[in-house]
Symmetry: C2
Subunit: 412 residues, 2 copies
Amino acid sequence: MKKNVLIIGAGGVAKVVAHKCAQHNDELGRIAIASRNLSKCQAIIDSVTAKGSLKQPAEIRAYALDALDIEATKALIRETDSQIVINVGSAFLNMSVLRACMETGAAYLDTAIHEDPSRICETPPWYGNYEWKHLDECRERGITAILGIGFDPGVVNAWAALANKQYFDRIDSIDILDVNAGSHGKYFATNFDPEINFREFTGTVWSWQNRQWTPNSMFEVKRTDDLPVVGAQNLYLTGHDEVHSLSKNLDVPNIRFWMSFGDHYINVFSVLKNLGLLSEQPVKTAEGQEVVPLKVVKAVLPDPASLAPGYTGKTCIADLVKGSKNGQPREVLIYNVADHEEAFAETDSQGISYTAGVPPVAAARLIARGDWDARQMVNVEELPPEPFLTLLDQMGLPTRVKDEHGDRPWNA
Amino acid sequence: MKKNVLIIGAGGVAKVVAHKCAQHNDELGRIAIASRNLSKCQAIIDSVTAKGSLKQPAEIRAYALDALDIEATKALIRETDSQIVINVGSAFLNMSVLRACMETGAAYLDTAIHEDPSRICETPPWYGNYEWKHLDECRERGITAILGIGFDPGVVNAWAALANKQYFDRIDSIDILDVNAGSHGKYFATNFDPEINFREFTGTVWSWQNRQWTPNSMFEVKRTDDLPVVGAQNLYLTGHDEVHSLSKNLDVPNIRFWMSFGDHYINVFSVLKNLGLLSEQPVKTAEGQEVVPLKVVKAVLPDPASLAPGYTGKTCIADLVKGSKNGQPREVLIYNVADHEEAFAETDSQGISYTAGVPPVAAARLIARGDWDARQMVNVEELPPEPFLTLLDQMGLPTRVKDEHGDRPWNA
C-alpha cells in the first residue's frame, strides 16, 4: 500500500493528472507538483481549486525542480514523503527521475519512452537502450516502475494483454490506430510538446512485421479505416513506444502503430522537415549564433495547453487485433472515443492531454491499493488488464469492443 | 573622370561585379573587394584569376571591413584611392557606405534600397525614409550617388526612361515583370540572400495605382503572361524598390512590380510565414535563448552562391508599357532574357546574380567616362538611358523590344 503522489511536469498532461489525483485524493493521499517553472505548477493548482476537483479538502503544493538533478529530486521525494512519482515532464527526464525513485523506494510511472536530446527514433527495441537496463536493479530493490502508462502507450498495451488473454488463442497482428478527429481552429499546432511530437516522425519509422524490425520513412505507408464515431480516416505507419515492448512481451508476429494525419499537417510537416527546420542538431546563423532549429519551431507554435478552450471533436484510439479463437479466424476492435469539449469541461484540458493523463492516475490508484504494486519494472501488457480497464471505465475513458457480435462495452 | 573601384560585399552579386570590373579594368583602374569575411573576398579573386577575367594585368586586393563602421570605410576608400564605390553588400549597409562616400568624395552605387533590420516593407515612398534625406547634401558636395543600379531596380528604370523619352507621348501604366524560369534542382532555395528575399514579401505589398499608393498582401493579386522565350508564367503583385522612385520621377498613374512564383515556392513561403518563421522579431525558446526566426530559416537554406554550378534555364525581365504615341494607343514590351548556364560559364555565378551584377559595372564605366558622373544623388530613370543600354548590349545583357512592329533589338 503506497500513498502520496509527486507529479513531475506542469504541461497539459500534468494538469489532467493533477485533476484526476485530486478527484481520488482519499485513496492517493497528498499531492505535490514539481517542475522547472513554478508558476505553471501554481496555475495547475489554481485550475484544480477552481473546478473543485479535490474529493477531500487538502492543500496541493508546488515545487520548483530541475528533474535532471537526481539529488534534488530524491530530496523532494523525501520531503513530500511521496511513495508514488508520476513523471509527466519531458521525455528527456525519465532516467534521472527513475534513478531518484530507485534510490528512495518510490514507485515510478511515466507515459513516454526516454529520449536523449541528441538522438531521434533510436534503434529497436528502444526500451533496451535506456529503461530495460534497470530491470535487474528494480527487481533487486523491489521498485515498482510502470513504463508508458498513458493512453498510447498504456491503455493500448492493456488492450493487447486483454485480447491475448481473453479473445484469442493466437494473435496474428495488432494494429494500433490513433485518430484525432478534433479541430483546434489554429493554422497549425501540435497536440503535445512540438519537440517530442516532431521527433517521433523525423527519423526511421520502425514496425514489427513477420517477427522482424522493419524500417520505413514517415508517410510512406498509408491505410484508410472506417472507425466508430469518427468515420473514415487516413492513417500512416508511425514508429511508437508500444511497438518496442509488445514485440518482446507478446508472441505476435505483426505489431504496427498508425496515426491519423490530415493533408495540411503532412504538408506543413514536410516543408519543415525538408528545409531542415525539424533538426535537433544545432545550426549556426550568419551572425554566429548556435541554434537548434526544432527549438525555434517549438517557440513559434502555439502552446498545446492553449488549444484546450476552443477544441471541438473527438478522438478514437483502437487496437485492431486479428488472429483465431477455437480454431476460427476472428477480428476484434478494442477502442475508446473521447471528446475534447468534455475533457475541457472536466479538467480545463484538451482531449489528447486527457487521454494521456487519466491512465497514470488509474495506475497510481492500483498501486495504492496494492493490485499493481509490482515491485519490479514492467510494461503495461505485463500487468493484469482487467482492474485497470475497470477503473478507466469509471474515470472517463470507457473501453468498448466491436467484433462479429456487435459493438458494446468490453465487460458487458 | 573617376577611377579605381572599391567593391563592398562578397556574395553572389559581388562576384559578378568583380568579374565584370576585371573585364574592363583598362577603363576602371584598380579593383579592391571588402567584406566582413576576408576569405569570401579571396575566393572571388581566385575565381577572377581562374577565369582570366582581367583585361590588363593587375592585382585585385581583398580587405576585411565592417561597412557599418563609417570611419573604417572612409579610411579604406582613401587607402585604396577609390573614386567609385559599388555597394553590393547587405541592404542594411547603404546609409553608412553612402556617408563614407559623401565624406571622401567617392561616387556611390548600390543595387537595393536601404533596410533597417527591425523594419520590413516600409511606408512609401521608401527612398524618402533614408536615401532621399541626403539629396541636398549630395548636390551641395557634388557627390555622384546612383541608387538601385542593378537589374530591377536599375535596368528596368532605364527602360522606363527610354519608353517615356522615345516610345510614348503619354504612359498609362508600367508593369515590371520579373520571371526566373530557371531550375536550381534543390528542394527549396532563394536566389539571393534569403533574409532580404523574404523580407520583401512578408509585409504590405505597395503599388502605385491611379496615382495613389495601394496596399495589398503578398500572393493576393496574380496575372499570367506569355513572355518571350520563357513562355506562359504566373506572376504576383509584389512591393519593390523601383515603384518608389518611378512614381515620383515619371508622370505615370500606374506602376506595378510583378514577380513569378511557382506553386511550390508559394506553398513553402506560406507555411513559413503562417507559422511565424519569417519574422524579423526575436522569439524566446523554452530554454530562454533569444532567436530571430528568419535568421534560422536563412541558416538552414542553401547559400544562394552554391546554386550556380547546377543552375539551368533562363530569366526574363521586362517592362510592359502601355500608353499612346501620336494619338494612337500602343503597347511595348522592353525586355532581356538571360541564361543561368551562360552566366556561370562567364562568371562562376547564377543568372540572378549576373543580371544584378553587370549593370552597376556598366554604370561605373559611364561614371569613369564622365557620361553618368551626375555629381548628385539620382535614381536610374533620371539619367540618359541610351549609353547605359548600349553598354549592357555589349556586356551580356542585351535589351530587346516587342511591339506592333515585331520583336527586335531596342536600337535595331
